[in-house]
């Protein structure tokens, strides 16, 4: 085929037409993209408008602190400090994990707190409002009513927010609400850590990822008594557990003070054989740093399944207590 024949061929015509259409479409989209571009500021303003409908508010956009923005139960995407009339309030966009079919729920959470730093810590006052903006795989998200969210907000206690432990919140969307509660607790932890100067003192301890900042411990002789508060692990809410570890670094007492499981059926499936076990036993089940949160090892260790999330929290607490025995003794207690 000569060059002249090629330019007259159907192949050339096909290439020319297709490329022309692609080129024209590309130019059109480039132009329209510039025309209809939605900036981050505009998106933030939209989100704020959802939280404060019909109200003119001012705020400052904060950089998200990467150190505290990611945890097993949540991810903080954006953070704003409210100014003007809403001084002392913080708005965060949090993705709560552990929803139905391992899906997520994205919420904008407005919370009030007293700002502070490590030397002069402030305090978290409470959540003012939760607005659900997005979800993945949550077929029954429509069951989460504003009343139900308000009940969770009003039920704030030492363990943070809970959907089940005595809260009496019933929605019909257990897992979705669990993800929202994870987001709420994540917002609380983030605001406490970043704005209030209340960083988790156990950050550098072994297997501390599921341990809440409010955990305390005392040392008496060679015995360490922990009052461990876990974080929530959707759909399970936070547990408070008293763990006593003796000089042999084995658990001598394990008492669940606050049961975060979602009901009696789950409570009965929580492992009960903690006494007499050491860190090596728990590390064998959930990993040395608690990284294995699946139930693949549960059956082999005689742990009934059916309360996977609650069992993981209890095992994490047990691992934390036993693995950090030496550190606790050296520190001398903080209660």
């Amino acid at each position: 085929m000569t060059t002249k024949e090629f330019f007259k061929s159907t192949a050339f015509k096909c290439i020319a037409v297709l490329l022309s259409i692609v080129l024209i479409c590309g130019i059109l989209l480039t132009f329209c993209n510039a025309l209809f571009f939605v900036s981050d500021e505009e998106r933030a303003a939209r989100a704020v408008a959802k939280v404060f409908p019909g109200e003119e508010v001012t705020f400052e956009t904060d950089d998200v602190n990467a150190k505290y923005s990611q945890a097993s139960g949540y991810t903080v995407n954006r953070a704003y400090t409210m100014t003007g009339e809403h001084q002392g309030e913080y708005l965060v966009e949090v993705v709560g994990k552990g929803g139905y079919k391992s899906g997520t729920v994205t919420c904008w959470i407005l919370a009030s707190a007293v700002a502070g730093d490590v030397a002069n810590p402030g305090s978290f006052t409470g959540i003012e409002k939760v607005v659900i903006t997005d979800n993945q795989k949550q077929s029954f998200i429509g069951y989460i009513t504003e009343d139900a969210l308000q009940q969770v907000i009003d039920g704030q206690n030492n363990e943070g927010f809970s959907a089940y432990s005595g809260s009496g919140v019933t929605t019909g969307a257990t897992f979705s609400l669990g993800a929202i509660v994870s987001a709420m607790n994540g917002a609380k932890t983030y605001i406490e850590s970043v704005y209030c100067g209340l960083a988790n003192p156990y950050e550098s301890w072994t297997a501390s990822s599921m341990i809440d900042r409010t955990t305390t411990y005392t040392v008496s002789g060679d015995t360490v008594t922990y009052s461990i508060v876990t974080v929530s692990n959707s759909p399970a809410s936070a547990f408070t557990i008293t763990v006593v570890v003796g000089g042999d670094k084995k658990i001598s007492e394990f008492t669940i003070v606050t049961d975060g499981s979602t009901g009696a059926n789950y409570s009965s499936n929580i492992y009960t054989g903690f006494v007499g076990k050491d860190a090596a036993f728990f590390a064998g089940i959930i990993g040395e740093n608690g990284e294995n949160d699946t139930n693949s090892n549960y059956g082999a260790n005689g742990i009934a399944t059916g309360a996977t999330k609650s069992n993981y929290l209890c095992l994490s607490a047990a691992l934390f207590a036993t693995a950090n025995y030496d550190t606790a003794v050296a520190e001398g207690g903080n209660a």
């Binding site: 159907t10 037409v17 059109l28 209809f36 939209r46």
Partner: protein, 227 residues
């Protein structure tokens, strides 16, 4: 001339309804009819894309070689869908969020490509525009009607307004949408069949009367037959 446009319109909305008769665009149908408002919004978005794509493809039908027509259609449709997404994100963010991923999926909606291939590349721009509007309207009406049923039964509300406390959760899920979709196809097909049968019976009766009239030398009812 008017009869031609009337036929295109009636075909698109009723006799070749893309949802109930041709069963096209099933993915957004099952995904969005749990809310009447989302269904209506999706339908309107499809009307815009379908009408514009039909017009553009019809206008370019003599330029586009047969061998590359499908890639060309896809590029045009994808451009229009991207454009719609940009406009909605900028001007109607609540609609953009409500439609979510289904908005992008309009690119592969069988109705759009189907009308481009079956109609727009063989007809004039005006006819293609009417066809796009009619098929889009047929799709929108079908989705909205099913959306109303699903939302009423599944959430006890209509277009977001609470009507009653009683609801059946199943109809708020894709499984419930599937049931409503199936029953709607049954009902629509039954009504159309009944209508067409009645039309055929009437035509046959008039034809018989004509024959009898002609045989008996009375005035034939030809005009009535034509009508």
């Amino acid at each position: 001339m008017m009869n031609k446009y009337k036929k295109i319109t009636l075909d698109g909305i009723i006799f070749n309804n893309p949802t109930f008769i041709l069963v096209l665009g099933t993915c957004p149908t099952l995904g969005l009819i749990s809310s009447a408002l989302s269904a209506l919004e999706m339908g309107l978005a499809v009307i815009v894309v379908l009408t514009l794509s039909n017009m553009i493809i019809s206008a370019l039908r003599k330029l586009i070689p047969n061998e590359v027509r499908i890639p060309c259609y896809i590029v045009v449709i994808a451009t229009l869908v991207t454009l719609i997404r940009m406009v909605l994100d900028k001007l109607l963010p609540s609609v953009y969020e409500a439609l979510g991923g289904f908005l992008a999926l309009i690119v592969v909606n069988c109705i759009i490509l189907g009308r481009a291939e079956a109609f727009a590349n063989k007809h004039t721009v005006a006819e293609s525009a009417v066809d796009g509007l009619a098929n889009g309207a047929g799709f929108t009406i079908a989705l909205t009607v099913m959306g109303v049923i699903c939302e009423f039964l599944g959430k006890g509300s209509l277009f977001g307004l609470k009507i009653m406390e009683f609801s059946i959760g199943l109809f708020g899920t894709p499984a419930g949408s599937f049931i409503v979709f199936g029953l709607s196809i049954c009902a629509f097909t039954a009504i159309i069949d009944k209508f067409l049968r009645a039309k055929r019976v009437k035509a046959n009766r008039l034809a018989r009367e004509n024959l009898l009239g002609a045989a008996q030398g009375s005035v034939p009812a030809e005009k009535e037959v034509k009508a």
